[in-house]
Amino acid sequence: MHYESPIREPLILEGKTLHDITEDVARPIEGKANKWWWALFSLALAAFMWGAGCLAYTAGTGIGVWGLNKTVGWAWDITNFVWWVGIGHAGTLISAVLLLFRQKWRLSINRSAEAMTIFAVIQAGLFPIFHMGRPWLAYFVLPLPNNFGSLWVNFNSPLLWDVFAISTYLTVSLVFWYMGLIPDFAMIRDRAVKPMAKKIYTILSFGWSGKAKHWQRFEELSLVLAGLATPLVLSVHTIVSMDFATSIIPGWHTTIFPPYFVAGAIFSGFAMVQTLLLVMRKVVKMEAYITIKHIEYMNIVIMVTGSIVGVAYITELFIAWYSGVEFEQYAFLNRATGPYWWAYWAMMTCNVFSPQFMWSKKLRTSIAFTFFISIVVNVGMWFERFVIIVTSLHRDYLPSSWSMFSPTFVEIGIFVGTIGFFFVLFLLYARTFPVIAQAELKTILKSSGSQNKKLSS
């Protein structure tokens, strides 16, 4: 039997029972949306439509409508791609790595974090596809037989590694998420009163009935998928970093990139989880499940990974000096003092300085402050990718081709559009899916519920 020390703080508050968990998880699905939901949804939908328009304009005219030039050939598109992929790391990290480490606090947040992962990776995928210029030929990246020989794809190229990494990550995260959802859809199905809802949740729940043998397989499946997803999630941002690290651009050609990118991805992913969950717990009334303790744990992760990112920044600077390579030295001097100094110092302030506030217990248990820092970190991590990509490219080996980059309204529109698309998906999810993995959460009610803690102490 599972025993947990009474000293540990409860993970489920307000003396909830098993039936209360069912009621609380089903309420947002069975109830009606309030005006805040409609307001946010309309705003997100408007942003999404604007972004879709900009994407259509890009596809119809060509990527000349973006602000790219011959020197700066990657800018907002790849910055946004890496930013979204990074955000998409927290979900699998929470559900897989924390499962392997038997961290029970994951159970209140893993469902929404995984949803966020999937929605973020969808946004990320749009950027390289549209950067191809002819998105309808995107299937050229797949190793398909063709009538040019067959001329195959180049398996030596990190960009192709990315295709495989991102698509494996997206599909594996999706099935991992869905396998956990099946028992929860079954719970919604068994409560549904309206015939239409009953029908939909019957299809979605795949006929789950909670037999002992099925639960045994379910647990084994979750454990093995977590074991597979853990190296997968680390490999994805490693491979994204190799897009840069295997090139010969000063500022990109760095062996520290894989661990540094992975730490940055976890950092930004947890920040986005905080941003979403702090709002969601309030709107769908999940304060008893997503407690201050959960927020504090996530803040500690943000603090640790933020510090790792800080160490990586300083290591890059040290190695640039220590290597004695003048191109490398110039690249880093230019980052900090060149025309893009403001982006560099925005990155430093947001990513290295701001998470250090989390050493204070008072600040890391404050909801308002956590929300503020989570936004700051998201901004900072966007600037990190902008700094790496644009400032490394804009000073070429040939000083005659040095240039600057400024985005057009189309690029800004596409970025805003992906944020809108992301929130459209997340808001729809919050109204139709069980936002907490209730079946698994019920397993810790006895050991970690406030009611039972009181009884046993």
């Binding site: 039997m1 599972h2 029972t17 098993l18 039936h19 069912t22 190793p143 020989g149 067959s150 001329l151 195959w152 794809v153 180049n154 398996f155 030596n156 190229s157 990190p158 590694w161 495989f164 990494a165 494996t168 599909t171 594996v172 099935v175 028992p183 079954a186 719970m187 199905r189 068994d190 409560r191 019957t202 299809i203 979605l204 795949f206 006929g207 789950w208 009935s209 909670g210 037999k211 002992a212 043998k213 099925h214 639960w215 045994q216 397989r217 647990e219 084994e220 499946l221 454990l223 093995v224 597979l228 190296p231 490999s235 491979i239 190799m242 079946a439 698994e440 019920k442 397993t443 006895k446």
Partner: protein
């Protein structure tokens, strides 16, 4: 022939776990237990064999690794060798470092997806499949034990009641 089954409904996971142990000790066969969440140790108590899903996943992963390496060897070394950036392409071994990332991704892809498909098939879970729990409360907060009776209904009902069930039902099913 119509069978007679007895359903015992419990409201606590520890109580049903103990009940399963006690009833099986008396030599009565328990046909099924439906629960809203995985009860730790229930599979042992029911005498279920360990699942072999993890083994299948390992096998699928090996197949994925082999197929991935075979595909890359065929496309880059056998069918159309190309000199790309001076990277060696004479044999699989020469080119292996560049093949590691994709070989790894394909291994995970096969191991994860084929295991999930195996799981869905073994549990007969698919869109349109009908749930077979006799009581909808088993996805909420109730635990249900199903025992088939062979003329010993009274004995089984007494047994279930003695182990702490809150409800006992008797039904005839086809």
């Amino acid at each position: 022939m119509r069978k007679k089954v007895i359903y015992g409904i419990y409201d606590d996971d520890d109580v049903i776990l103990q009940a399963v142990k006690d009833i099986r000790e008396k030599g009565v066969h328990i046909d099924e237990v439906y629960s809203p969440f995985p009860v730790h140790g229930l599979d042992h108590a029911l005498g279920l064999k360990p699942t072999r899903l993890a083994i299948t996943s390992f096998i699928y992963g090996c197949i994925g690794l082999f197929l991935g390496l075979f595909m890359m060897w065929y496309m880059m070394i056998q069918d159309w060798p190309q000199n790309i950036g001076g990277k060696p392409n004479f044999s699989l071994l020469d080119n292996l470092p560049a093949f590691v990332p994709i070989a790894f991704e394909i291994t995970i892809f096969f191991a994860a997806h084929l295991m999930v498909i195996t799981y869905l098939m073994r549990c007969k879970l698919y869109p349109g499949s009908t749930a077979c729990s006799p009581d909808p409360r088993t996805t909420d907060d109730m635990f249900l034990m199903e025992i088939e009776a062979h003329g010993n209904e009274a004995e089984i009902i007494a047994l279930i009641k003695a182990t702490g069930a809150i409800e006992v039902k008797e039904e005839k099913i086809a």
